[in-house]
Symmetry: C2
Subunit: 268 residues, 2 copies
């Protein structure tokens, strides 16, 4: 046991985690790293698309909760992680050209351009850690898979070139824990906030829970009700639909770890 | 009494209020009109400044709570008031050129341009009505003056060409009501939210409460503590500092009345 704890101790060490990611000696997912620090989705777009995307996020804050928008050309998030560098400080990135995935890389310094605008968006890791602490089960963590995600029949508010339907993530919650799941997530509007739907999947256009559009199906046990939250794949899908000339995102699960703690996004 | 009620009945009548404002037969302040409907500040800017201003609002949500950003060239707020026209549906506007007030008008149709972007921002009228309902005094309403506003020593996050210090409004609150004042306003993040400071004015750079930078001084009674909220004059001051070629705003107190109710902005 002591051996295991020692082996994993670096995972909660600020300097060590950030150094290994920056140097590229750690390129794995960020779950379990620097617990309590807020992790963020990264979307990097050419400036010509930045206004439309910022407006899309403003109009659709539940699926697109902006934590920070970095100045054009800069890779330093002055508000959520001053001194950090978005070109090196994520373990893995995806480069897209004209809507097609070109490659996965662990450093995007060579791809950087002066006209790039970086958007950091909140991620449900933040509220999931509180759900677990309060005894609300998070099924995809129990089953060791990706959260199941579904394209709904709810249209987002269009903004310039960006449009699309809302994508939701689903977590089955025991009936007696639904109140608490709503209460906890309501307190985190910066990371998708309260559920957008509770109950019948067909009411939001989901035909079969066992066939998610993204991620993996999870078990819904007797006495549990499917609960749906707005999902950060929504803005990604809206972007990809538009096939922009150039986009960088984090690789799924390989997030940016900000300097902010989850409690700083707790809405009192 | 019946006569008075009859005389004022139009003030709560949707069709009548909106018709009189649109036709220009009512050009007065909007306080007391269509109670329960959310009123908004209007800022109209050329598209060339829209990205920087949107980013300024995103980075400074407490003084700049965006209710809606309208598509460039359009005067119809599709989200908060579909079918309404921002060029005619406010009782009074101010036109600025190069940072100088040019004139006050009751209709801006003749000034409209295809490159104009309209921003609607939340206003503290929304939380004040709840404070009154819950027995928290709102001094400037009791004294029939404008809320006192002060420029603080707190810098906003800069965004492109826009920068400036936060402006706050002050309401003196009896000590035993401060908890409730914080609780009520915390539930309205879309209209400035919770106080940014409670107590000593000098801690936020205010030298003399009796000399506000905008609005009117109000009485602070024994047993009351000054409570400060982020104020919508902040973005206006940031804009005026920049002296843009062309700006339209609502005339102070002559707001846009949306179709949304205050309860729709209550953050559960």
């Amino acid at each position: 046991m002591i051996g295991v704890r020692k082996l994993d101790a670096w995972k909660q060490d600020q300097n060590e985690v950030r150094k290994r990611i920056r140097e590229g000696t750690y390129t794995g997912p960020t779950t379990g790293l620097l617990n309590g620090y807020t992790q963020a989705n990264l979307v990097v777009l050419p400036q010509s698309l930045a206004y439309d995307f910022l407006l899309f996020c403003q109009r659709n804050p539940k699926p697109c909760p902006l934590l920070e928008v970095v100045d054009a050309g800069s890779a330093e998030p002055m508000i959520t992680a001053p001194g950090k560098d978005l070109r090196t400080d994520l373990p893995k990135y995806i480069i897209y050209r004209n809507g097609v995935k070109e490659q996965e890389v662990t450093d995007v310094t060579d791809y950087w351009r002066d006209d790039l605008v970086s958007f950091l968006l909140g991620c449900s890791f933040t509220f999931e850690s509180y759900m677990l602490e309060m005894g609300v089960p998070v099924r995809q963590i129990e089953e060791g898979v990706n959260v199941p995600m579904y394209v709904t029949n709810r249209e987002c508010h269009k903004a310039g070139v960006f449009e699309g339907n809302m994508v939701v993530s689903m977590r089955p919650i025991p009936e007696e824990k639904i109140t608490m799941a709503v209460q906890i997530t309501s307190r985190f509007p910066a990371v998708h906030g309260a559920p957008v739907h509770i109950g019948s999947p067909e009411k939001i256009g989901i035909i079969d829970l066992r066939r998610p559009d993204f991620g993996n199906a999870v078990t819904v046990k007797p006495g549990e009700i499917p609960v749906f939250w707005a999902c950060g794949v929504t803005p990604q899908a809206a972007i990809m639909k538009q096939k922009p000339e150039f986009v960088i995102t984090h690789s799924p699960g390989h997030m940016f770890i900000t300097d902010k703690t989850d409690m700083e996004f707790f809405q009192l």
